[in-house]
């Protein structure tokens, strides 16, 4: 049994909220550069150049990459040999978000109630997904999610007979509908299988997979490549202002499902595909 003080969790979450909102992971930077190298449209290339300049300014001057510093989505994978002391884990995580968004000059974008809509003033609560895994480590992923792209995400409950062609059609429909609203070039997270909520969660998790890492399942890897190619033929382009770089990557996750179903979730992320990862 390993013991972790919850104040360590608070400190790490705070730092990760600030880090994720100012620095993109290396694979995202490489993908943007690759996009700038291949984009056909002159205006598209200009926009991709501005996005790269934006990243430099954000890092140098500590200005958030995007003013929508998101709702904090946190994946918390807990080794089952770990024991937490010093207070409730959930409280420690929310306190980390609170401190990170206050001290990091991040925007408070969360309202207490979806209908009454009063701002909570500290960007809490975060949306936390816990998983119990083997071992005595804790892996934390903080992925602040902006809502320009979140609003364009979809769940499709397909029929088994729709098959892989139905999946492709669903993903392309979601991306076309998203168009300029989702701040392309986007990253497309797809979850196939499971249940209604499981496919949505897989789609979200897929966004945190490094863009240079393809699925280890043969047909899924081919699907990722084919979808990326098809999306980049839609003409949407950077900023939705036309071009050949509409998506930087398509990451697909799968899970067993029911004999009667083929759930597909498409979680779209803008080019500010933020996530910070730490292992304690």
């Amino acid at each position: 049994m390993r013991t972790i003080e919850t104040r360590e969790i608070t400190r790490n979450i705070k730092e990760m909220c600030i880090e994720a909102n100012h620095f993109l992971p290396e694979d995202m930077k490489c993908a943007l550069q690759a996009g700038a190298d291949t984009e056909e449209s002159p205006l598209g290339r200009q926009i991709l150049g501005q996005l790269q300049e934006n990243l430099q300014i954000a890092a140098q001057e500590m200005i958030p990459i995007c003013q929508d510093t998101g709702m904090a989505v946190i994946f918390f994978e807990i080794g089952q040999e770990v024991h937490f002391t010093g207070g409730l884990l959930e409280d420690a995580i929310q306190e980390g978000v609170r401190q990170g968004y206050r001290e990091g000059f991040l925007r408070k974008s969360v309202v207490k109630d979806p209908i009454c809509r009063e701002n909570t003033g500290d960007n809490t609560p975060a949306v936390i997904h816990y998983a119990i895994v083997p071992g005595d480590k804790v892996q934390i992923t903080v992925a602040p999610k902006g809502f320009g792209s979140e609003n364009m995400s979809r769940v499709f409950m397909l029929k088994p007979a729709d098959g892989i062609e139905g999946v492709k059609s669903a993903v392309l429909t979601a991306v076309k509908d998203a168009g300029p609203n989702a701040c392309p070039p986007m990253v497309v997270g797809v979850g196939i299988g499971g249940t209604f909520e499981k496919c949505a969660l897989m789609a979200k998790r897929a966004l945190t997979r490094p863009l240079d890492q393809r699925s280890h399942i043969g047909y899924v890897r081919e699907l990722e490549q084919e979808l990326l190619q098809k999306i980049n033929c839609l003409g949407i382009g950077p900023g939705g202002l036309g071009g050949s770089v509409t998506a930087l990557a398509v990451n697909v996750e799968t899970y067993p499902t029911h004999i009667a179903g083929l759930p597909v979730a498409v979680n779209i992320c803008c080019h500010v595909n933020r996530h910070a990862v730490r292992i304690l």
Partner: protein
Amino acid sequence: MERHIQAPFDSKTAASLRAGDYVYLTGTIYTARDAAHKRMYENLQKGEKLPLEIEGNVLYYMGPSPARPGKPIGSAGPTTASRMDKYTPALLDLGLRAMIGKGRRSPEVKEALIRNGAVYFAAVGGAGALLSRAILSSEVIAYDDLGTEAIHKLQVKDFPVIVVMDCQGRNLYEMAVQSYSRE
């Protein structure tokens, strides 16, 4: 075409703008996003006065992140415009000259742009740090209780935008996607 324009600007200038023009705005613009639009709309329905002059002005759909000490504003890029569509025709009919946002607009907004000779600009979404450099000052002038969603008066210098919808009904999103589509 590249244009340098002083904001606010007159209807003649608006009428001269074409979808696809790259425009640098210098002068005064105002922010308003979801909550401020809802409140302005309710003010209008009750016959109350709006907290700013709509006629001739430019609204920027933006809610900034907090400014660090010594800076006029935090990150300050555009938010999705379609959420304001419900409220927009009424503001355009009051003389709103232009809006800055990102993403598609409704057919009702398109009609109201044509009817009133107004334009819809896009700024680059997700480039809030870069765009903040074109903002010289920011002051909350109304709905202070809305926090980031309050109405801010901004002084901008060479703020970069692109005309997406002009007052003749042209739409850059539709035109540009057609030219690069290989479906």
